[in-house]
């Protein structure tokens, strides 16, 4: 690992890079005198939160910055052989920079959905990239593409060559993207958040792939990311950016062992971890005082505390055999086409959510966890099964409620959304957004509504001045807090939090998580906390349920799931979480295996097959695991943590 190249050189050396944009008055400095380097065959991670200028740095190195940006500084690209060039001095869109871009520097982007043209086949686009830079015949290009597609992990490169991007999943598309980026044999790869849009297991595979390629092809990689877990797992050197400036840089071990700049220290303290460490209260960069929440409690938003005494407490919500299938859009002309077999998004799920608990729900995209969340707030109706809400003296069946019952239900059960941009009506002031639910339910007089809005704003750590402003003037974290306040306005007892922090930066995430925890404690709320991030769920949840292809495969108190998971799917999820600690890196060998293959290696008891009925079986201590009915629960060995 420590064999230095014979002639010491930097593959990429960025010196005092500045990028600024002219504004009405003055200018916006997106990147301010940033310096960094990438050694040949090594990975440098560029870390920062949104708005830190890290992506702009990557684009500017490639000469792809917006046309009206003003740039300064030097970007020296040196492939050895005495051929160092300053990329900044090359004419924009000239022949030289175009030969380097794509030919000697490859780039992969965050969004695998949009980085391929939907109209051409994968092979077509990759061989185009190749033939733009190298004089090869069509047949040769095809051959080299197929080799590369095989190299990035496609079992059948010939077939993938003639497939269209929409036929591939996000992870597969990202693999194809990597193949396209390295097909010309570049010496530098710039990867801008390459795994952010992917599930953890897929993320682990892609990280393993990048590591392999880097070692095999001697690639230098500039990895732009906000995820400290990814950094610790893959990088050799780390550069931390904040407000366009480099605040700390060093070898990965040094950075994580001895973080020095207050910003980096704050950032690391704000990341939730797995295991014991995940339980201590996070220290966000900006904490919201809980006094406002207590005022809210006094205004009648507090619910009766759950009885912590012995004996099973009554479930607030019970699901029994809930099934929901989304039919493909009806096509009146499709009489002759074969009817597609619909996969249920939620498949016979039975579950109790106890009063006052936070139930974590994890699973990868497409596992049906969001659909389950929507069923629980009656955004959609189940096809089959019952969802019973215990409403004090009476009960409400969510599946059947209508009229007055539905109105009651709306005020008892609320939801907080993932996307802080799309969840607030852009044409309404924050005050109107918060008072609208009261307006709809005709609660209180205008003065009382105003008072409650002020109290809600106080509780989320905002001044009353926020009420007259529009959502566009708030940052993502602030908007998410407004979304929380709106969900609280009707004094619901049960709130579904659907990926509420996945669109937020780490420092803001900790703040939101703490706010949710404080609210739950002070107002005795019950949460269903949906997330794909196991560390976040570990921090929030009392119990954790794991979903896989619409089915509940494991449910248990948090510590059992974290330390002694039984279902192989839960184990693979846990094993794929990158931890921000270079001493505990991911098991690369395990991550190399595609999920479809890994599934075949599961013990027989867990494999789903037609004719082999499976159900949740009780393992004791509230731990239930889905396995074949033909297997006895006691036959499954209880083992220690996967990691």
């Amino acid at each position: 690992m420590d064999i230095l190249p014979t002639a010491p050189r930097d593959l990429l050396r960025v010196e005092g890079l500045s990028v600024s944009f002219p504004l009405h008055r003055g200018e916006l400095r997106a990147v301010d005198a940033a310096s960094m380097r990438v050694l040949p065959g090594r990975i440098t991670a560029l870390v920062g939160e949104s708005g830190s200028g890290k992506s702009m740095t990557g684009l500017t190195i490639m000469g792809l910055q917006p046309a009206h940006a003003r740039v300064g500084g030097r970007v020296i690209f040196d492939r050895g052989e005495g051929a160092a060039v300053d990329l900044m001095t090359l004419p924009r869109d000239g022949r030289q920079i175009r030969a380097i871009r794509g030919g000697q520097i490859g780039m992969i982007f965050q969004e695998p959905m949009t980085s391929f043209s939907p109209l051409h086949t994968i092979g077509n686009q990759i061989s185009e990239a190749l033939r733009l830079h190298l004089p090869v015949s069509a047949a040769e290009a095809r051959a080299r593409c197929e080799v590369m597609l095989g190299r990035v992990g496609f079992p059948d490169p010939g077939r993938v060559y003639s497939m269209y991007p929409f036929e591939l999943s996000g992870g597969m598309r990202q693999r194809a993207m990597i193949a396209m980026a390295v097909i010309c044999g570049p010496s530098l790869l710039i990867a801008d958040e390459p795994t952010t849009a992917l599930d953890v297991t897929i993320q682990a595979q892609i990280l393993a792939l990048i590591r392999d390629l880097q070692q095999e092809l001697g690639l230098g990689v500039l990895m732009i990311t906000h995820d400290l877990g990814v950094v610790a797992n893959i990088a050799d050197e780390v550069v931390v950016m904040y407000h366009g400036r480099v605040v700390e840089a060093g070898a990965t071990e040094t950075i994580f062992r001895d973080p020095t700049h207050p910003y980096l220290r704050g950032l690391i303290a704000a990341v939730p971890g797995l295991g014991e460490r995940g339980r201590t209260r996070l220290r966000p960069l900006r904490e919201i005082p809980a006094d406002g929440i207590r005022d809210l409690a006094r205004m009648g938003l507090q619910h009766a505390a759950p009885r912590r005494a012995a004996g099973p407490s009554r479930a607030l919500i019970s699901l029994r055999d809930v099934t929901k299938t989304f039919l493909p859009r009806h096509q009146s002309w499709g009489l002759l086409a074969p009817k597609p077999v619909p996969m249920p998004a939620v498949d016979h799920v039975s579950l109790d959510i106890l009063r006052g608990e936070c139930l974590g729900l994890v699973g990868e995209s497409g596992s049906g966890k969001s659909t389950l969340g929507k069923l629980l707030v009656r955004a959609i109706k189940p096809d089959r099964g019952s969802i019973i809400l215990d409403d004090g003296p009476s009960v409400i069946d969510l599946a059947e409620a209508s009229g007055a019952e539905l109105a009651t239900l709306r005020s008892r059960v609320q939801m907080i959304f993932q996307d802080p941009v799309s969840s607030l009506s852009p044409r309404m002031t924050v005050g109107n957004i918060l008072s609208e639910p009261l307006d709809i339910h005709r609660r209180g007089s205008a003065a009382e509504r105003r008072r409650l809005v002020a109290a809600l704003l106080q509780a989320i750590g905002m001044g009353e001045g926020a009420a007259t402003r529009f959502p566009h003037s708030f940052s993502g974290g602030q908007r998410q807090r407004i979304g929380i306040a709106r969900a609280l306005a009707l004094a619901p007892e049960f709130i579904v939090c659907d990926e509420v922090v996945s669109a937020l930066d780490v420092s803001v995430q900790a703040q939101i998580l703490n706010l949710l925890k404080d609210l739950q404690r002070e107002l005795n709320l019950t949460y269903l906390f949906i997330s794909h991030d196991l560390a976040v769920v570990n921090y929030m949840a009392d119990r954790i349920a794991v979903m896989w292809r619409g089915r509940l495969v494991e449910i248990a108190p948090r510590d059992i799931i974290m330390q002694a998971p039984i279902h192989p799917y839960t184990r693979s999820l846990l094993a794929a979480v990158p931890v921000p600690d270079p001493a505990r890196r991911l098991d690369i060998a395990a991550a190399r295996m595609p999920a479809e293959k890994a599934e075949l290696l599961w013990p027989e008891a867990f494999r789903e097959a037609p004719g082999a009925p499976a159900e949740l079986q009780d393992m004791g201590q509230g731990h239930r695991v889905r396995m074949r009915t033909s297997c006895r629960a006691s036959a499954i060995p209880r083992t220690g943590a996967a990691r």
């Binding site: 190249p5 010491p8 050189r9 930097d10 050396r13 010196e15 005092g16 005198a33 310096s35 960094m36 380097r37 050694l39 939160e49 708005g51 040196d78 050197e237 550069v239 904040y242 480099v246 605040v247 700390e248 840089a249 060093g250 070898a251 001895d258 020095t260 700049h261 207050p262 910003y263 704050g266 900006r286 009656r378 955004a379 539905l406 709306r410 005020s411 059960v413 939801m415 959304f417 993932q418 799309s422 969840s423 607030l424 009506s425 852009p426 044409r427 309404m428 002031t429 609208e436 639910p437 709809i440 339910h441 007259t468 402003r469 529009f470 003037s473 708030f474 940052s475 602030q478 979304g483």
Partner: protein, 389 residues
């Protein structure tokens, strides 16, 4: 400043910058100044930068404002004729007479019948200086058909005459007729657009938010309406209007016809926008609060598309004006004595007019200008309509 960088290829030390870190500084401070700016204000700020659209907007405001005081602006009434001056060419305004300052005036004209070519020949009489008067008492009229008045912005000299754009075959002043015709032509565009706007929002709104059978039915209906060639359809509908109706009723009938045929595009625009918007989380949030359909459409969805609608409506006003002109030109729309630009152009058809009395084609100029202005304005509004992007 290469602070964090060691010499090329050497080991990287641990670099820590001395940049202070203020955890209280909320990100996104750049927006704060515009925090309480409503969407309308943001749109205006963006629109203001679109020069051509701004100028067009001001131009249209002035034109539409002038409709309120047409009688005052026009030197003659709509129906006043001067039988001595038939097909008189435009008079030129002079300032100097034989090198001497006189102020704005026109020469009186004498008419001679050219019996060889069978046409009237007008020539300036250099002795007859007719000074223009401003804010003067001229022809009497009834302001808005109610108040008797005789004040004009400018009028001919006592006993003289003033036809800056010439006269037509009945000796009527073309300029005055253009100004009066603007009232009908420009308002027909607005009224028709309003009819189509309301129809488009209601039908497109319900179809877009609800979908289902209503959407299907409306889509098919729109396709049928759009597939019928427009001129025969206009002709059919115009034929429905009874001949016995008063010209004013005919005018209203024509606006309604134009509006009823134009809503289809508007409805489709609303529908496709709502299809996109109804997937936004804030719509689901409103549903989860228990909001009913009219509230969701009215308070959450329409405000999001209104700016686009206004922009597209401003682009459809010219089509209305042209539609009226075309209908009338075909003899199916308005009929004299109501005067619109279409009527004026009807009177100007025929090759001999183009050859002999080209000034009768002047009504084309305001039509072109107004339509261009609406197009520029609509363009600017459309660009400014979404200030968040």
């Amino acid at each position: 400043m290469n602070g964090p960088l060691p010499p090329p290829g050497r080991e990287l030390g641990h670099y820590v910058s001395d940049i202070p870190f203020d955890p209280k500084a909320e990100p996104g401070g750049a927006y704060l100044g515009m925090g309480s700016a409503s969407q309308f204000r943001l749109t205006w700020l963006k629109f203001r930068r679109h020069r051509l659209a701004l100028i067009s907007g001001v131009f249209l405001l002035v034109i539409y404002g002038s409709l309120l005081i047409t009688e005052f602006l026009a030197p003659y009434r709509l129906d006043s004729r001067n039988l001595d001056f038939i097909y008189a060419p435009p008079q030129r305004v002079h300032l100097f007479h034989e090198g001497q300052w006189v102020g704005p005036f026109v020469y009186g004209q004498t008419m001679r019948l050219d019996l060889d070519q069978l046409r009237r020949v007008y020539s300036d009489d250099p002795q007859d200086i007719q000074k223009l008067r401003f804010f003067c008492r001229g022809e009497e009229y009834r302001f808005w058909k109610l108040l008797p008045a005789d004040l004009h912005l400018f009028c001919p000299a006592e006993g003289g005459r003033l036809n800056l754009l010439g006269t037509d075959r009945l000796g009527r002043d073309v300029l005055s007729r253009i100004l009066h015709g603007a009232r009908i032509s420009l308002t027909i565009g607005l009224l028709g657009t309003m009819v189509s706007f309301v129809l488009g929002i209601v039908i497109g709104g319900i179809a877009g938010y609800r979908g289902g059978w209503f959407d299907h039915a409306m889509q098919r209906m729109i396709e049928v309406i759009q597939s019928i060639p427009s001129i025969p359809l206009w002709m059919t509908l115009a034929a429905i209007i009874p001949m016995s109706w008063s010209p004013l009723l005919v005018y209203l009938g024509i606006t309604v016809i134009l509006g009823m045929l134009d809503w289809t595009g508007q409805a489709r625009a609303v529908r496709s926008k709502l299809f996109a918007l109804r997937e936004e989380d804030y719509v689901l949030a409103a549903e989860l609060m228990g909001a009913k359909t009219p509230r969701i459409i009215g308070r959450h969805l329409l405000p999001g598309v209104l700016s686009h609608l206004i922009a597209s409506a401003s682009l459809s006003v010219p089509a209305m004006i042209l539609g009226e002109t075309a209908l009338t030109f075909l003899g199916l729309g308005l009929r004299p004595p109501v005067t619109s630009w279409g009527i004026l152009l009807t009177e100007a058809r025929g090759i001999n007019i183009v050859a002999l009395y080209p000034w009768l084609l002047w009504p084309m100029l305001p039509i072109i200008l107004v339509i261009l202005a609406f197009n520029f304005l609509g363009d600017g509004l459309r660009d400014a309509a979404d200030p968040y992007h």
